[in-house]
C-alpha cells in the first residue's frame, strides 16, 4: 500500500485515493498527420518498462482530481518525489547513478 505525497493537496495520502495512469512525459505529437506510422505507433503503444527509476503519472481521483507525476522505483516501490504537471523530475536514473558513484567514491 503506497503512501504518496500529493503536490497539490500538499500532504501524504493513501494509495486508495489515487489511480496510476501510465508513464509520464509522453508528449502528443504536435502534428500527428505529419509523422510516420511508426512514430505514431511509438507514441500510442510503446512504453518503457524499467527496473528501477520510473517517471509516471498518478491521478488523485478521490482527492483533488489533479494529475501529477512521480519518480518511483519499480523494484523497491520507493517514491523519490512527486511533482506537478508541467514540471520536470529532479531525480532521474542518471542523477541517482551519479549520487551513488560519489557516495562510493567518498567511502573508499
Amino acid at each position: 500500500m503506497h503512501h504518496i505525497y500529493c503536490p497539490y493537496c500538499e500532504e501524504m495520502r493513501e494509495e486508495e485515493e489515487y489511480s496510476y495512469t501510465g508513464e509520464a512525459h509522453i508528449e502528443r505529437p504536435k502534428d500527428p498527420a505529419a509523422i510516420s506510422d511508426e512514430a505514431w505507433a511509438n507514441y500510442i503503444f510503446f512504453r518503457s518498462n524499467p527496473r528501477g527509476i520510473h517517471h509516471e503519472m498518478w491521478y488523485h481521483a478521490a482527492g483533488c482530481r489533479r494529475y501529477f507525476n512521480a519518480t518511483r522505483d519499480t523494484q523497491s516501490y520507493k517514491v523519490h518525489e512527486t511533482y506537478k504537471m508541467g514540471e520536470m523530475p529532479s531525480i532521474t536514473a542518471q542523477t541517482l547513478a551519479v549520487a551513488n558513484l560519489s557516495e562510493k567514491g567518498g567511502a573508499s
Partner: protein
C-alpha cells in the same frame, strides 16, 4: 458427562493460571479440565494428552512441539456445525469453558489411525516430488487424486453453512508502531509513549510480556513477569498509546503499512457474542519497530517427531507460565546454554532431569555451572541421535559426537525418558521484515538469519536481531523507541544476565547410519519433509533453495516452516558443500499466521459489497415493481412487469407503448459533465470525432469519443447551453472515466485552454419519454416553450418550466420516436416523474426499463458503446463514418490512427445488422459467426453477435454483430453454430431495422 480426568501434569503452585476458575473442555470427545489462563495446548499437556494429530504424508502420531505461532503439529478443529473453525494452533487457542476441539487429521481417529498403515507401507513410495512425479499425468485425474489425499491426510474442514460471525476493518495511523510486546517491544513502546508520539503496540498473545511471562529472571530487581505487568499498565495509562493484545501483525507492506488481525471474541468462544469476531487493523505508521523475537529451533534426529519431543524453551514456558510439566523423566538435547535453563526449570518443578546432552565438547557459562551445581548430569560432546517409542517417547539413544558434530564417534546408549526437550538454537522472526522485499542476512555468530537492510522506516529491537539476553533486548528496545521518536535515552536495564556460552551451529544430529538409511529425521513436521528427502532433492539437481522448497514442500504448511526452514537450508547447504549464507533462504510472505477470509472481506459483503447507486426516482421504481439491472454501480429499472406477465410479454407491451403512444424511462444515470470556458467548443472539437464549431446555443449533437488508437471509447449527446457553455452526456458506466479523460488532456497537454469541467451527473434527474404522444404529454405541463415541430426541432433543447419546475427540455431520441428528455434538479426528480405519469395517464404512458430501451434502440441500429463496441472498433467499423469530421483543423484524438495500416484494412470486423432466416428465432448474444457451418473445426471465425432481441413491432428477431468485411457482405448468409448443436442462419443487412428514413423522430 464423563468425570473429569485429573490434571496429572499440573503443578500445585505457580504459573499465571487461575486455579479458582476451572474450565471444562473436550478434545476428541473426551472431557478434560483446565484453568483460566491456559491455552488449549497447556491444558492438554496438563492432562497428559500426548497425541494431538496425525502427520500429513506418513500419518505418524504427533504431539505438541512448541507453545506459540511456531507450532506445526497441534492443528485443531474448534467448535461444531456452522461455528466450526479449522486449523488454529492449540498453542494459540485460549481456553474457555465448554471449548470443543478435535484433531484435524487422523482417520478414523488420531489415536488409532488406519492411514498410518499406509504411511508405513507407502513411506518409501512417497519420496519428495511424489506429487509431481505421480500425479502429473493424466492431468484431469489430479482432482480425483487430490480428493483421496485430502481425505487421508487433510487438515481442518470448513463449515459449508454461512459463517455466522461478522468481521470488520478499521484504519489506524500512528507515529510509532511496535510489533511485539516482549521485553524489547515493551521497552520501545514505553520510550516512544513517553515522548508523546502516537504509538500503537500489538502482540498476538492475550497478555503482554512475551518471554517475560515465563522468565525466572529479574528486571532492575523486579520479577520479570511483574515488570511486564507494570510496563503494560503504564502503557495503558498513556492516552497517546494504543495497546492491542490478541492482535497479530501478519503483514508488513510498502511505505510502513502494517496489517494486524485482532481476535475480539475467539477467547470467549462462539456463545453470547456481540460485535465482530475479528477486526482487521490497517495501520499506517511513520516508524515501525519490529520486536518480533525469535523461535527456538528443534534438532533433526531419528524419530524426532515422536510425541513427547518438544522445544526446550516451550517446556520452560509450560512450567513457568502454565504450571504444567509435560513429562516425568526428561532428557535435554542442546547445542547452547538455553537447554540448561530448562533443566533447572524441570528440576525446580520436582521432576527428573535424566541428563543434559550437549553437542559442545566443553560447555561452560553461568547456566551450565548452575545446572552442574544442582546435580544435573551433563553429557558434553554427545547428541541424541534417535528417539525411541511408538506413539510416545520411551527413550533417547545418546552417542558421542566429533567436535564438528558431523559424526558419531562411539557407541550409543539408551536413556529412558518420556520427554525430550530440544534446544537447537534460535531463529529470529524475520518474517515481517521480509514482507517489504528486504532479504534476510545470515549471521554466523547468531547461527541464524537476521533482517537485512530495509528502505522502510524500520527499526529492530531484541531477539529479532540475534541478541538473546534479556538486558540486551530491553536496552535495544529503549534505543529503538527513542530513535523512532526522535529522542534520546540513556536508560540501561540490569538483569544480572552475564554473557552466556558460545552456541554450536548444529542442525542435523548425525546417526550411525547414513541419512538415507537412518530412521526418519524430520525437518518440516507439518509437511512431513525429512532430511533424507531434502538430501535427495539436492542430489536430483535442485540447487536453488526456492526449488528445493517447491520440490519437497518444505515450509509450505500453515506454519510456513517456522521451526523447520533453517534446518532444511542447513542440510541443503551441507549436501552441496556450501555455507548457509551461500545457499540463502526462501523469502517469507504475508501472512505470518493464517488469516480468516472473513476478516479480509470485512463488512464489504452482502449489500455493502459494492455501492448501489440510486436515482431520485428509485422509490417510485421500487413501489411499482421494477426488476433492476446493474449498469456500472447503478441500479436501473430493467423492466416493469405487471401481474402474470413473462419478461418477454412485459418487453413487448413496453416497446409497443413507445411505438404507438408514449413510454417513459428514467435516464438520470447518464453521465453529465458541465463544460464552461471560452475554449470549451475547441476542446470538444479535439475530443470528439465530429465538428462543434457551428453548433448554436439551443442545439444538441451526438458525438463519438475515441482513444488515440482510433477506437470508440464513449459516446453521447452534447448540448450547447451558450457560446461558452456546454452540457456533455456520457454512457452511464463511463461517466467517471470520461471526466478523467477530459481532465487528463486539459491538465497534461492543453493547460492553456480556458475550460473547466464539473460533474453534474447527480445534480440532474432525467425523465425521458418517447412515442407519438410524447409532445402531448409535455404540452400539458409546459406552457412557456413552443414545443411544436416547427419551433422545437429534433436535436433542439430549450429552457422552460415543466410542472412549475425550471427545467431543461431536450428533443433527442434513442428510440427512433418523437422523444423528449426533461432534466430537473434531482431534488425534484421524483416529483417531476409523478407529474409526467399523471399527465400521460390519458395516453397510457408506460414506464419502461433498460431492456426495452435496448430493443427500441437496436430496432434503430443505435449502438451501445461497450456492448456493440469492445475497444477494438473504430467509427468506420461501426459504419458510423458519418459521425467523423473530415475537414477539422485540429487532428482530434484518434484521427491519426485511421490511416494506420491495420485500422485501414477493409476486412476488419464491421458492425452489421443480422436478420435471422427463421423469423421466430432470437440468436443468443455472444454467438460466434461463421460463413460455412459445415467447415471442419476449427472453423474460420468471422465475428460474433453483439446485440439480439425479439422485436414485437417488426414481428421477428433482430440482431447486430461484427463480421469481417461485413459492410461488403450485405445480403450474404452467415451461420451461428451454438453449443446445443443448433445452427442459426441469418442474413447480413443494414442495422437500421425500423424507420430507416427517420420520419418518426422528426415528427
Amino acid at each position: 458427562m464423563s468425570p473429569n480426568l485429573p490434571q496429572i501434569n499440573r503443578l500445585a503452585t505457580g504459573g499465571r493460571i487461575d486455579r479458582s476458575k476451572p474450565m471444562s473442555f473436550t478434545f476428541n470427545g473426551k472431557t478434560y479440565q483446565g484453568f483460566e489462563g491456559d491455552t488449549l495446548a497447556s491444558a492438554m499437556l496438563a492432562n497428559g494428552v500426548g497425541v494431538v494429530g496425525r502427520s500429513f504424508k506418513y500419518s505418524r502420531a504427533r504431539g505438541i512441539l512448541g507453545h506459540g505461532a511456531e507450532e506445526p503439529n497441534a492443528l485443531m478443529q474448534l467448535h461444531k456445525g456452522k461455528e466450526t473453525i479449522p486449523n488454529p494452533r492449540a498453542t494459540q487457542v485460549e481456553l474457555f469453558d465448554g471449548l470443543t476441539a478435535t484433531s484435524t487429521n487422523g482417520w478414523p481417529s488420531a489415536e488409532f489411525d488406519l492411514m498410518s498403515l499406509m504411511g508405513k507401507i507407502g513411506g518409501k513410495m512417497m519420496p519428495p516430488g511424489f506429487y509431481y512425479k505421480t500425479f502429473m499425468a493424466p492431468q484431469k485425474m489430479w482432482m480425483t487424486y487430490e480428493k483421496l489425499i485430502r481425505k487421508a491426510a487433510g487438515f481442518g474442514k470448513l463449515s459449508l453453512e454461512a459463517d455466522p460471525d461478522t468481521y470488520d476493518k478499521i484504519n489506524a495511523h500512528c507515529d510509532v508502531m511496535v510489533v511485539g510486546a516482549g521485553p524489547a517491544g515493551l521497552a520501545a513502546a514505553l520510550e516512544a509513549g513517553r515522548s508523546g508520539k502516537r504509538v500503537i503496540i500489538v502482540d498476538e498473545q492475550n497478555e503482554f510480556g512475551g518471554t517475560l511471562l515465563a522468565s525466572t529472571q529479574t528486571v532492575d530487581g523486579i520479577d520479570a513477569a511483574t515488570w511486564a505487568e507494570q510496563a503494560t499498565s503504564q502503557l495503558e495509562g498513556m492516552a497517546n498509546v494504543l495497546v492491542m493484545p490478541r492482535t497479530t501483525a501478519f503483514g508488513y507492506y510498502d511505505h510502513n503499512f502494517v496489517v494486524a488481525l485482532e481476535r475480539r471474541t475467539d477467547h470467549i468462544g462462539p456463545v453470547a457474542k456481540t460485535g465482530t469476531r475479528q477486526r482487521l487493523h490497517r495501520i499506517r505508521a511513520h516508524q515501525v519497530i519490529l520486536a518480533t523475537g525469535a523461535i527456538e529451533r528443534p534438532l533433526v534426529f531419528g524419530n524426532n517427531d515422536l510425541p513427547g519431543i518438544m522445544l526446550s524453551n516451550s517446556v520452560s514456558t509450560y512450567i513457568n507460565r502454565y504450571a504444567v510439566v509435560p513429562g516425568q523423566r526428561c532428557v535435554i538435547m542442546t547445542t547452547n546454554d538455553s537447554g540448561y535453563q530448562t533443566a533447572l526449570d524441570i528440576q525446580g518443578a520436582g521432576r527428573t532431569v535424566v541428563a543434559v546432552v550437549d553437542s559442545r565438547q566443553t560447555p561452560n557459562g553461568r547456566l551450565v555451572e548452575a545446572a552442574k551445581a544442582a546435580g544435573i548430569q551433563v553429557m558434553a560432546g554427545h547428541g541424541v541421535i534417535e528417539a525411541q517409542g511408538s506413539k510416545k517417547v520411551m527413550g533417547a539413544i545418546v552417542a558421542p559426537l566429533d567436535e564438528a558434530g558431523d559424526k558419531v564417534i562411539g557407541a550409543g546408549k539408551t536413556l529412558s525418558c518420556d520427554l525430550i526437550a530440544v534446544a537447537g538454537g534460535w531463529s529470529p522472526v524475520v518474517h515481517l521484515s521480509c514482507h517489504t522485499g528486504s532479504r534476510p542476512v545470515w549471521k554466523d555468530d547468531v547461527a541464524g538469519f537476521v533482517p537485512g537492510p530495509s528502505i522502510q522506516n524500520q527499526h529492530l529491537a531484541g531477539a529479532v536481531t540475534g541478541e538473546y539476553l534479556l538486558s540486551e533486548a530491553l536496552n535495544a528496545g529503549i534505543q529503538a523507541g527513542a530513535t523512532a521518536s526522535g529522542t534520546t535515552s540513556a536508560q540501561i536495564f540490569d538483569c544480572g544476565d552475564e554473557s552466556i556460552g558460545v552456541s554450536q551451529a548444529l542442525y542435523l544430529v548425525p546417526h550411525t547410519k547414513p541419512i538415507s538409511r537412518a530412521p526418519k529425521q524430520f525437518v518440516d513436521f507439518q509437511n512431513d519433509v525429512t532430511a533424507a528427502g531434502i538430501e535427495l532433492a539436492a542430489r536430483e539437481g535442485f540447487q536453488s533453495i526456492e526449488h528445493v522448497k517447491r520440490y519437497t514442500a518444505m515450509g509450505f504448511g500453515t506454519d510456513q516452516g517456522k521451526t523447520g526452514n533453517i534446518n532444511g537450508m542447513a542440510i541443503v547447504a551441507k549436501t552441496m558443500n556450501k555455507s548457509i549464507a551461500e545457499t540463502g533462504t526462501t523469502i517469507f510472505r504475508p501472512a505470518y499466521t493464517p488469516v480468516t477470509f472473513g476478516a479480509i472481506g470485512g463488512r464489504d459483503v452482502g449489500e455493502l459489497l459494492d455501492p448501489a447507486r440510486h436515482t431520485a426516482m428509485h422509490p417510485w421504481h421500487l413501489a411499482n415493481g421494477a426488476e433492476f439491472e446493474n449498469v456500472g454501480q447503478w441500479k436501473r429499472p430493467w423492466y416493469f412487469p405487471q401481474a402474470g406477465e413473462t419478461m418477454q410479454q412485459t418487453l413487448n407491451r413496453e416497446c409497443l407503448a413507445v411505438r404507438n403512444s408514449v413510454g417513459i424511462l428514467d435516464a438520470s444515470t447518464l453521465g453529465k459533465i458541465d463544460i464552461q470556458g471560452k475554449d470549451a467548443r475547441e476542446f470538444l472539437n479535439r475530443v470528439y470525432t465530429n465538428a462543434w464549431s457551428k453548433l448554436a446555443p439551443g442545439k444538441c449533437r451526438y458525438g463519438l469519443m475515441l482513444k488515440e488508437d482510433g477506437m470508440i471509447f464513449d459516446d453521447g449527446v452534447t448540448a450547447c447551453l451558450s457560446d461558452n457553455h456546454f452540457l456533455m452526456t456520457t454512457t452511464s458506466g463511463g461517466a467517471a472515466a470520461v471526466l478523467g479523460w477530459l481532465e487528463l488532456w486539459h491538465q497534461t497537454e492543453w493547460p492553456e485552454m480556458e475550460v473547466y469541467f464539473t460533474s453534474v451527473t447527480d445534480q440532474w434527474a432525467t425523465c425521458s419519454f418517447a412515442g407519438p404522444n410524447s409532445r402531448k404529454v409535455l404540452e400539458k405541463l409546459c406552457t412557456d416553450v413552443d414545443l411544436s415541430a416547427e419551433a422545437m426541432k429534433f436535436m433542439d433543447w430549450r429552457e422552460g418550466t415543466v410542472a412549475g419546475i425550471k427545467a431543461r427540455i431536450f428533443r433527442i431520441s434513442f428510440t427512433g420516436e418523437l422523444s423528449f428528455e426533461v432534466n430537473v434538479p434531482a431534488d425534484q426528480g421524483h416529483y417531476m416523474w409523478k407529474k409526467l405519469m399523471e399527465a400521460g395517464e390519458e395516453f397510457g404512458i408506460t414506464p419502461y426499463g433498460t431492456e426495452s430501451m435496448h430493443v427500441l434502440r437496436a430496432e434503430k441500429g443505435f449502438i451501445i458503446a461497450g456492448q456493440d463496441t469492445d475497444g477494438s472498433m473504430t467509427p468506420y467499423d461501426c459504419l458510423m463514418g458519418w459521425a467523423v469530421g473530415k475537414t477539422k483543423e485540429f487532428s482530434f484524438l484518434g484521427e491519426r490512427s485511421f490511416s494506420r495500416p491495420d485500422t485501414a484494412r477493409t476486412d476488419r470486423k464491421q458492425l452489421v445488422g443480422l436478420k435471422p432466416k427463421d423469423p421466430t428465432v432470437v440468436i443468443p448474444e455472444g454467438a460466434q459467426i461463421v460463413m460455412d457451418p459445415n467447415q471442419p473445426i476449427p472453423m474460420d471465425m468471422m465475428g460474433h453477435v453483439t446485440s439480439s432481441y425479439w422485436s414485437e413491432c417488426l414481428g421477428h428477431g433482430i440482431a447486430m454483430g461484427t463480421v469481417k468485411g461485413g459492410s461488403d457482405r450485405m445480403g450474404e448468409t452467415v451461420y451461428c453454430p451454438l453449443a446445443d448443436g443448433r445452427v442459426l442462419a441469418a442474413q447480413i443487412c443494414s442495422p437500421v431495422f425500423y424507420d430507416p428514413k427517420g420520419d418518426h423522430h422528426n415528427d
